[in-house]
Every structure is written in structure tokens, then in C-alpha cells.
């Protein structure tokens, strides 16, 4: 799990071009939206692309995305549960 969260943090920083952040700056349960990381609705769409491209997991409903993308931790659990 921690390997996955580390990889996810790296992926997020890269995909969203968060050049001022390091993986250690994002804790597993920190909110990605609205908090210090400060992602917005365009990032939510980009995260859907990231999940499908890098993890083969498809989210069709942006509302579902909101729930999944609460934190790196919630993303990791979702990936664990849905990985084929």
C-alpha cells in the first residue's frame, strides 16, 4: 500500500505539473482539493485520465471521482479494490 501511495504521489505531481511539491509534502490523508495541495475541477478530470492511463481503472462519473479523489489514501484504496 505505501509503495502504491508513494507512486501515486509521484504520478500526481508529474501529471498535474505541481512543480513546487515533493511526494513527502503530501500526506496520505490530506485533502487534495481545497487544502494545501489545492487541486480544482480541471485537476479532477486530469486525475480520471491518470487513473485510466496508469492503472487501467475507469471512472465514468465525475461525481464518483470526487469521492475517490479525496486524498491519496482514498485513491490508493480505490485502486486496490478495482485492480483486475
Amino acid at each position: 500500500m505505501s509503495e502504491l501511495t508513494e507512486k501515486l504521489k509521484q504520478d500526481i505531481i508529474e501529471h498535474l505539473n505541481l512543480e513546487d511539491l515533493q511526494p513527502q509534502d503530501i500526506s496520505d490523508n490530506e485533502p487534495l482539493f481545497g487544502g494545501a495541495v489545492g487541486l480544482d475541477s480541471i485537476d479532477a478530470l486530469e486525475l480520471i485520465v491518470l487513473l485510466e492511463k496508469n492503472y487501467g481503472i475507469r471512472i465514468d462519473n465525475p461525481e464518483e471521482g470526487r469521492r475517490v479523489f479525496q486524498s491519496v489514501g482514498s485513491m490508493a484504496s480505490y485502486i486496490e479494490q478495482n485492480r483486475k
Binding site: D40, S41, I42, L45, I48, V49, P62
Partner: protein, 400 residues
């Protein structure tokens, strides 16, 4: 004394048909033009519906008297057809056209052609660059139309996403009011493109089924295409020619929501300010608005935001309103022009058009959008809204 701005001609092509009469008939008959695309070369054509103009490029070229061998973008062909109708309906002579201006609004320009050649470009395959890319930019569509119509006056193209043609009409109004122009064709054109279809799809705001603006269960918009232009003239110019006046453009407002790149603010600040400004520019105390042709795309975000703006603007005195995007789809840069023609049809035929596909209306506003054609009661004043990416909000105010 600032010059008054009269509308003396109109022309349109949309999913509802070619020409003002065909569009009026479809609006009155409650017939949508939205269907699975037949001409757009997209892999999504079986999954998505669009407001496509039901004619191939070769047909459009034939109608416009353009050689089918010349690869002219669909955007420019649609534009030429609608603008020619507008000039014709205004009864403008060749000489009168020569001194007229053309202010065009478009967001995709010649993308429908260039996107078909982009793969060859990436692969370094042999390519006729002239055919592929010479017509790509927005300005060349306007140049082409002006040259075909014999227009030699003021030439301009505005590209502000989905408010482009509303802004073109507004700009013509401002130039005429300031005495800087006498006669201007203004409106806009946009063709469906694989680029925009996939773009909106990536934003997850396309409803795969027929769009339902202002419905609680709305799922997004349908893209459309088309073109529409008005002939706008100073009072003096219209009087000199003895032109028939269709309506007067009395107000306009362009504002920026300054909230988000694509989404509207929850309270609809930009939309509210645009409507307010249009009424201020209109400058008539106690003016009653008979009908609002809303932007109403069918996305969760726009329709809520616009409803909040209408609420802030009108409160309990909310005029009848509807979105005609359920007929035409969202025609992007052409939407302001197309809906300006619909607004003028409302005034000239005392009609208010319904919102199609409405199941359960949103309950933000004191009343639901119109669900049936309203005929018979006078329509003297119409407000038409067009909003776009980048927070761009425009409102136009027409009166009899």
C-alpha cells in the same frame, strides 16, 4: 446624439435547416435538429448526438456557388451561406455591400480541414500544405466571406469561445453607435469538428442523449454547428435606403466572470453583470423584457449559474425564458448569432419558443422555462444570453 442601431437583414443555417423560414418552421413545430452525426468524421458518431447541418461540404459548396474542388472549410461555407442570406434579405446592392463591414465570430475557424491532415503532418508524410493548413486560422474564414460577398469595408473577427458571435453583434452595435460605421454584417459561424467534439467530451460535459437544459436531471450539452448573421445599420443608413427594419439593437454588455477557466461562478456573477450592463446601455427606465433566450447549454454548472443570475437580475419579475439549444445543440461561436435570429423571430412573429425534452424543471427560479410554444401575446423586447470559456459573458437586448 448617438446613432440608433437597426437590424435590417438576417440569415441563418443550422441543424434546423437552411434559411430563416426553415428555422422558423422547425421552431414552431417543436422539431429538434439534433441527431447522430452523418458528416462529421468521428469515431464517436454512434455514441453521441449533435446538431449537425444536414448537408455534406460538397452540398454546401454547391449552394454557395463555390467550386467543390477548392477545399474551403465548413466553417467558411456555412458562414458564407448565412451571410449571403442576410445581405439578400436586407436588399443590399453590390455597391452597398462594398462599403459595408463584416464582423465575424468563430471559435474553430478552419479546424475541420486541418485536423484531417494533422496525422500526416505528425508522421512526416507528403502533404499538400496549402490545402491542409492555409485555411486554418479564424481570420481567413472572414476574409473568404468578405471577398465572396464583395465586402470591402471594416473587416474583423472576434474569437471569445461560445460568446464570439454575440460579441461580433455587440461590436457592430458599438461601432455604429459611435458613428464609426454605417452598415455592418455581424454574427458568427462554427462547424462541428473532431477537435471540439473530443474537447467537450474530455471535459465530461456532453450528454450522449438529447440535451435537457434547465432540467433537474440534465446531463450536459450536445454540440451543434451553424452560422447566422444580422445586417446592422445606423438609423440614417436604413432610412436612406428605405430598408425594412426587423428590430432595434438597443443594449449590450460583455463582462468577465473571473471565476474559473471553464466553469461559471455558482452565483452567476458574470452573467448577472452582462444582463445588467445590457439593460443599462439600453437606457430605458422600466423596460419590460418579454422573453429571455437563455444560454442554457444543459450542463449542470451553466444552467444553475445562469438561473442564479436570472434570479438576481429579475427576482419575482422573471420574464418567460427558455433555451433553444435543445433544437440546435450548442453551436459555440455561432450560438450568439443563431439565437439573435431566434430573438428577432420572437419579436417579428410574437412567439416564444419552448425548451424541448424538459422532464422535471429545476426549482431555483420562481417559474420553469417555457415548455410549449407561446403565440399571440406581444413580444416587444428580448434579451439573449451567450456565455463562454474564459469567463466571457455577453447579453444582447433587442426591441421592436
Amino acid at each position: 446624439m448617438a446613432a440608433r442601431v437597426f437590424v435590417t437583414g438576417w440569415g441563418i443555417i443550422s441543424a434546423l435547416g437552411r434559411g430563416v423560414e426553415a428555422n422558423l418552421a422547425a421552431l414552431k413545430g417543436g422539431r429538434t435538429g439534433i441527431a447522430h452525426p452523418e458528416h462529421l468524421k468521428t469515431l464517436h458518431k454512434h455514441e453521441l448526438v449533435t446538431g449537425e447541418v444536414k448537408a455534406a461540404n460538397s452540398q454546401l459548396a454547391a449552394w454557395a456557388g463555390v467550386s467543390p474542388a477548392s477545399e474551403i472549410s465548413r466553417t467558411a461555407l456555412l458562414g458564407l451561406l448565412a451571410a449571403a442570406e442576410a445581405a439578400d434579405s436586407a436588399g443590399l446592392s453590390q455597391q452597398e455591400l462594398k462599403t459595408a463591414g463584416l464582423i465575424n465570430g468563430t471559435s474553430v475557424g478552419g479546424m475541420d480541414i486541418s485536423e484531417q491532415h494533422y496525422e500526416a503532418l505528425l508522421k512526416g508524410e507528403s502533404l499538400d500544405y496549402h490545402r491542409a493548413f492555409a485555411g486554418h486560422d479564424c481570420g481567413i474564414s472572414t476574409e473568404f466571406m468578405a471577398e465572396r460577398l464583395g465586402i470591402k469595408g471594416h473587416l474583423s473577427t472576434i474569437s471569445t469561445a461560445c460568446s464570439s458571435s454575440a460579441n461580433a453583434i455587440m461590436q457592430a452595435g458599438r461601432l455604429i453607435r459611435a458613428g464609426a460605421a454605417q452598415r455592418v454584417l455581424a454574427g458568427g459561424t462554427d462547424a462541428l469538428a473532431v477537435f471540439t467534439l473530443n474537447g467537450f467530451n474530455s471535459l465530461k460535459i456532453l450528454d450522449p442523449a438529447w440535451c435537457r437544459p434547465f432540467d433537474v436531471n440534465r446531463m450536459g450539452l450536445n454540440l451543434g454547428e451553424g452560422a447566422a448573421y444580422l445586417v446592422l445599420e445606423s438609423e440614417e443608413s436604413a432610412a436612406k435606403r428605405g430598408a425594412k427594419v426587423l428590430a432595434e439593437l438597443i443594449g449590450w454588455g460583455n463582462t468577465n466572470d473571473a471565476y474559473h477557466q471553464t466553469a461559471s461562478s455558482p452565483e452567476g456573477k458574470g452573467a448577472y453583470l452582462a444582463m445588467k450592463k445590457a439593460l443599462e446601455v439600453g437606457g430605458r427606465e422600466g423596460l419590460q423584457i418579454d422573453y429571455v433566450n437563455a444560454h442554457g447549454t444543459g450542463t449542470a454548472n451553466n444552467d444553475l449559474s445562469e438561473s442564479m443570475a436570472l434570479q438576481a437580475m429579475f427576482g419575482e419579475q422573471l420574464p418567460d425564458y427558455s433555451s433553444t439549444k435543445s433544437y440546435t445543440g450548442h453551436t459555440l461561436g455561432a450560438a450568439g448569432g443563431i439565437e439573435a435570429v431566434f430573438s428577432l423571430l420572437a419579436i417579428n412573429h410574437n412567439l416564444k419558443f419552448p425548451n424541448l425534452n424538459l422532464g422535471q424543471p429545476m426549482d431555483v427560479l420562481p417559474s420553469a422555462p417555457l415548455q410549449k410554444l407561446h403565440a399571440g401575446s406581444r413580444v416587444d423586447t428580448v434579451l439573449s444570453n451567450s456565455f463562454g470559456f474564459g469567463g466571457n459573458c455577453t447579453s444582447l437586448l433587442f426591441t421592436r
